[in-house]
């Protein structure tokens, strides 16, 4: 799996928010994106996943250009994001959240839902067992039937990760997976991410907790005022004086 982000740019009425950012993610890499508040990281994610329209640039996943595809199409091609503020389906249970994420459900077609009940039931059963596996993997058994809106911050992050898994994603873009998560759960979450990475899923991660992030990723990209100002291994990047300068007042760990 290779993801190429080429010259991504976005400007609002003259104000450049993301300026020609290019990132490369090779087989099963885990890459971190850091930068001070307002550097354009989340905007970059939205551009890559199609939630915002880019002024310029392209996204290429395994040789296929996705730049003109809708957000949902990009997700169907295997590139799935999570959100900085978790977007769980608050009034549905954890299990329902995960069931909803499964791709290609014929029961989502009204006609099948009404007239092909057996086909739908069989699919539901199959999806159900995959959901059970996911729940077990994420250790969400205790809350499986609680409403997602009532979960803790960390559990919601896990749930979003679980939903991304259910879609069969090949690369997952995590937007601050550790924000608002207690330290114990951060470890838990990190180990899950590592395990998934070992299974062949690539990750692109925005995170402010540089400690946890550095332990996870092999490469860091640093953004400031919309531009990439540095990249390299975590050690190299964190030693870079440019990066330090950009982070003054930004709270570099």
């Amino acid at each position: 799996m290779i993801l190429n982000i080429n010259d991504m740019s976005k400007a609002y009425s003259g104000l450049v928010v993301v300026d020609k950012v290019s990132i490369r993610l090779h087989d099963c890499e885990m890459i971190g994106v850091i930068g001070p508040n307002g550097a354009g990281k989340s905007t970059l994610f939205s551009l890559v996943t199609g939630f915002l329209e880019a002024n310029d640039g392209d996204v290429v996943l395994d040789g296929r250009s996705l730049g003109r595809h809708s957000a949902a199409e990009r997700a169907r091609h295997g590139m799935v994001r999570t959100f900085q503020v978790p977007r769980e389906f608050a009034n549905m249970t954890v299990r329902e959240n995960l069931m909803a994420a499964a791709p290609r459900q014929s029961g989502e077609n009204l006609i099948s839902a009404f007239f092909r009940p057996r086909l739908v039931a069989a699919q539901e059963k199959e999806i159900g067992s995959r959901v059970d596996e996911t729940i077990a993997f994420l250790k969400l058994e205790r809350v499986a039937d609680s409403l997602a809106g009532r979960l803790s911050g960390g559990q919601k992050k896990l749930l979003e990760l679980g939903r991304a898994l259910m879609t069969g994603a090949r690369v997952i873009l995590l937007d601050e997976p550790f924000a608002g998560v207690n330290p114990v759960l951060i470890e838990e979450l990190s180990s899950k991410i590592r395990a998934l990475n070992a299974r062949g899923i690539g990750f692109l991660i925005i995170e402010h907790d540089l400690g946890a992030l550095s332990r996870l990723v092999s490469k860091l990209y640093v953004m400031d005022r919309g531009r990439l100002i540095a990249s390299g291994t975590p050690q190299e990047v964190l030693a870079d004086p440019l990066v330090r300068e950009a982070y003054i007042g930004g709270g570099l760990a």
Binding site: T49, F51, S70, A71, A72, E73, R74, A75, R76, V80, R81, T82, F83, R87, E88, F89, A90, N91, M92, E96, N97, M99, A100, A101, P103, Q105, S106, G107, E108, N109, L110, A113, F114, V120, Q123, E124, L147, G149, R163, A164, M166, T167
Partner: protein, 294 residues
């Protein structure tokens, strides 16, 4: 059975079809349709025009449902991707335009004079028997609609529209297009409204443009909000409350003679307004609880 209660029951059934459609759209999917009465109007006029021209009533009923759906389709194409409050405004405008069209295109709709003498669905037998049959038919349609709703709620389709209601962006992030689902929901709800309008036209026997004002839409909104958004039992309860309120005010004068009669229409409006405000603030889940405790 008391003929008056039969009449109330029939009207309640007609409102219930409207409310079930709106509940599917708003309660389950989160679509803010402020133009429900527009589809009701399309249904009423379709069936009225066709049946007075001699088309058999079962056909005209079907045509009403289909045409209301067809009216929703271009509206959906234009507006389904809009932000929710834009969608609300556009649908409100749509229903007003529908009303303007039936007002202005007199060659088809007889304009402001309205269409009188719309044939009844059941024409044989005594008046009472006809009334009971009409009630039966209306409730049968309601029953079918309720069964269909329950089927939808339990299906993967139902799961997806609820997901759309809870968070549309997240749905897109999972590779599903909300627009398609919303469109189907808009069409289904409009079909119910169209059918409801047709039943209304045949039951009342006379329709004119001023019966299809936005106030009707908001009565239905009040019903589903008071009953409990997203719940079928809530929709039923809400419609009963609405009927009780609308018809009850007829008896209010017996108990509260100090209210001047001329103000009664204003008071009805004010009560609906207050109910909308108070329920949104203090009991958004409605009387029957919300969708979270299905």
């Amino acid at each position: 059975m008391d003929a008056y209660l039969i009449a109330i029951g029939t009207i309640a059934g007609i409102y219930l079809l409207l409310a079930l459609g709106l509940n599917l759209q708003f309660g389950l999917t989160g679509l803010i349709n402020f133009g429900h009465v527009g589809f009701f109007c399309v249904g009423a006029y379709t069936s009225a025009i066709l049946s007075t021209k001699g088309v058999p009533i079962p056909l005209s009923l079907a045509a009403a449902a289909v045409l209301a759906m067809l009216a929703a389709w271009p509206l959906g194409i234009i507006s389904i991707r809009l932000r929710e409050d834009y969608f609300a405004i556009v649908t409100l405008g749509f229903s007003e335009v529908v009303r303007l069209i039936v007002t202005s295109e007199g060659w088809l709709t007889n304009g402001v004079q309205g269409i009188a003498g719309i044939p009844r669905i059941f024409r044989d037998g005594a008046g009472e028997a006809q009334a009971v049959l009409m009630l039966g038919l209306t409730l049968a349609f309601c029953f079918i609609a309720i069964l269909a709703m329950m089927r939808i709620v339990r299906s993967p389709f139902g799961r997806m529209i609820e997901a759309i209601r809870d968070n549309e962006e997240a749905v897109r992030s999972l590779g599903k297009e909300p627009a398609g689902f919303k469109m189907q929901v808009l069409l289904l709800g409009s079909m119910l409204a169209g059918l409801s309008g047709a039943l209304y036209a045949h039951y009342i026997g006379y329709i004119s443009p001023d019966q299809f004002i936005p106030f009707v839409t908001f009565q239905v909104w009040m019903a589903i909000i008071m009953g409990g958004v997203g719940r079928i039992s809530g929709t039923i309860a809400g419609v009963l409350i609405l009927m009780f309120f609308l018809e009850g005010s007829r008896f209010l004068r017996d108990f509260a003679p100090f209210i001047p009669e001329v103000s009664m229409a204003s008071i009805r409006l004010g009560v609906i307004g207050l109910a909308l405000i108070l329920f949104t603030i203090y009991r958004p889940q409605g009387l029957m609880g919300d969708f979270t405790k299905r």
